[in-house]
């Protein structure tokens, strides 16, 4: 009987994993009484992971540039690049959440607060978000190169945060 219970448990686990696996956001179509327990279960086991890496298309990449202005009027550009490729990769993932309109203003403010706290001499910080315009393969073959296109620019002053 113990073995049958284990097999049944494994089967249910795999069914949940299959349900959430594709790019289709199945959670949007399930009643919340079912969806939430499954999603939480998946949150503890990995069974609610969607396997849509690089799919159906490879999204572009944003970059964020911070220019701080000191009290004496001097400016300098800073970034969070580290010697660790893994950390830089994770920062690129985090910057990519800028694509979500509902998060944009909160993200920009959070980045500005972090920069101003790290640089006590800074009076303000200009946060500039650029998005890479990657040419198609055919365009690249004809000589077009990738270009950074400015998507947003916001200035946050220290006094605005108080």
């Amino acid at each position: 009987v113990r073995r049958e219970i284990i097999v049944a448990g494994a089967a249910v686990h795999l069914i949940v994993a299959a349900l959430f696996a594709t790019h289709v956001r199945i959670e949007r179509y399930l009643p919340s009484a079912i969806e939430r327990p499954l999603r939480v279960y998946g949150g503890y086991t990995g069974a609610s992971t969607h396997f849509d890496f690089f799919a159906p298309a490879v999204p572009t990449q944003p970059r964020v540039r911070f220019e701080i202005t000191a009290a004496n009027g001097g400016t300098r550009v800073i970034d969070f690049a580290t010697p660790s490729a893994e950390v830089n990769q994770r920062f690129a993932v985090m910057y990519a959440t800028y694509e979500l309109p509902s998060l944009r203003s909160a993200l920009v403010r959070a980045w500005a607060v972090f920069v101003l706290e790290r640089y006590p001499d800074a009076r303000s910080v200009e946060v500039q978000v650029d998005v890479l315009d990657v040419p198609t393969l055919a365009q690249a073959h004809r000589g077009k190169t990738a270009q950074w296109v400015e998507a947003a620019r916001t200035v946050v002053r220290r006094e605005d945060l108080q």
Partner: protein, 310 residues
């Protein structure tokens, strides 16, 4: 789907717990490498007031999922500031990973690594890419499957394990679950790509290679060879779609090797070494014993052992 000798289904082919030991040791090593990165850059990736403060990232999570802010609140009366709590969790996670690799009190070690990974992952969820989910899947299996029965301190302390039929079935069932889960992963990943036209034209591969976050080499000249990029895109889609079918046939060795090559390519050309390592460990754990047997047969061994000498 005949598995050769005795007509056993390939699903029940695994004959030892060594594949699960590979999973335990491989995932433990990846956890340690990741923990080293998280420790070194904890002020950026895990600080409560980092570039993405916890108050912002926590708001996107289900309240039932653990995150470090819950623990900092509970531990604050003891005088522990939030960064000390972060360090405690990271250290406990590292201890769990080391014990997992050694296979000492394996289930408890895996549980410790899993229980500390969850709040670390969810507190920094905006910094986790595909590796976050894959590591959780693998770590969960390290905890619930009998991963400490081979190549472990637990095994050495317990003495020689018996080779009963029940024991073999247990190994087969455990490895079978891993196999089915990998099939789900590849089928879903393949279908998700197949519906995107850019994977059929080679543009998706070109785009991935063009993004600075993945750039390992200057491959701009590849735009002059669109057929090559198209072939790479098609190979990625076809390999992922074919995987869940071919792993149950005599072409298993070929498709698993192709999948491993795909992950090696992702590591070399896109720099996603940790993610690729997790996928390669999962593949070796699920099908490595089969490949070992195939290799032994290819080399003409008459009575191949299960995986190494037994």
């Amino acid at each position: 789907v005949n598995g050769g000798k005795g007509g056993r289904l390939l699903f029940l082919e695994a004959a030892s717990f060594k594949p699960l030991a590979v999973l335990r040791i491989g995932i433990g090593i990846v956890l340690l490498v990741q923990a080293q990165v998280l420790w070194q850059y904890r002020d950026l990736l895990l600080a409560p007031e980092g570039p993405v403060p916890w108050v912002l990232s926590d708001a996107l999570l289900d309240p039932w999922l653990p995150r470090l802010s819950y623990f900092t609140r509970w531990l604050a009366p003891m005088g522990l500031d939030p960064m000390r709590v972060v360090e405690l969790f990271l250290l406990a996670h590292i201890v769990g990973a080391v014990l997992l690799i050694a296979g000492f009190r394996t289930r408890a070690a895996a549980t410790l690594a899993w229980a500390t990974y969850l709040p670390i992952r969810y507190s920094a969820h905006l910094y986790f890419y595909g590796i976050g989910g894959m590591l959780l899947i693998a770590l969960f299996y390290c905890m619930v499957l009998p991963t400490g029965r081979e190549w472990s301190v637990d095994r050495a302390l317990a003495g020689r394990a018996d080779g009963s039929v029940e024991r073999e079935l247990d190994a087969a069932l455990s490895v079978g679950v891993l196999r089915i889960h990998l099939c789900i992963v590849y089928l879903a990943a393949g279908l998700s790509k197949a519906i995107g036209p850019t994977w059929w034209t080679g543009d998706a591969v070109w785009r991935a290679l063009s993004l600075p976050r993945f750039a390992q080499f200057d491959l701009a000249a590849l735009s002059g060879y669109p057929e090559m990029l198209q072939a790479a895109g098609l190979a990625a889609v076809v390999a992922q779609l074919a995987y869940p079918v071919l792993v149950w046939t005599r072409l298993r060795a070929a498709i698993v090797l192709l999948a491993e090559l795909l992950h090696l390519g992702i590591a070399v050309f896109l720099g996603l070494w940790l993610f690729s390592a997790v996928m390669m460990v999962l593949n070796v754990a699920a099908f490595g014993e089969s490949l070992w047997l195939a290799l032994r047969r290819w080399r003409g061994a008459q009575h191949a052992p299960a995986w190494g000498s037994r």
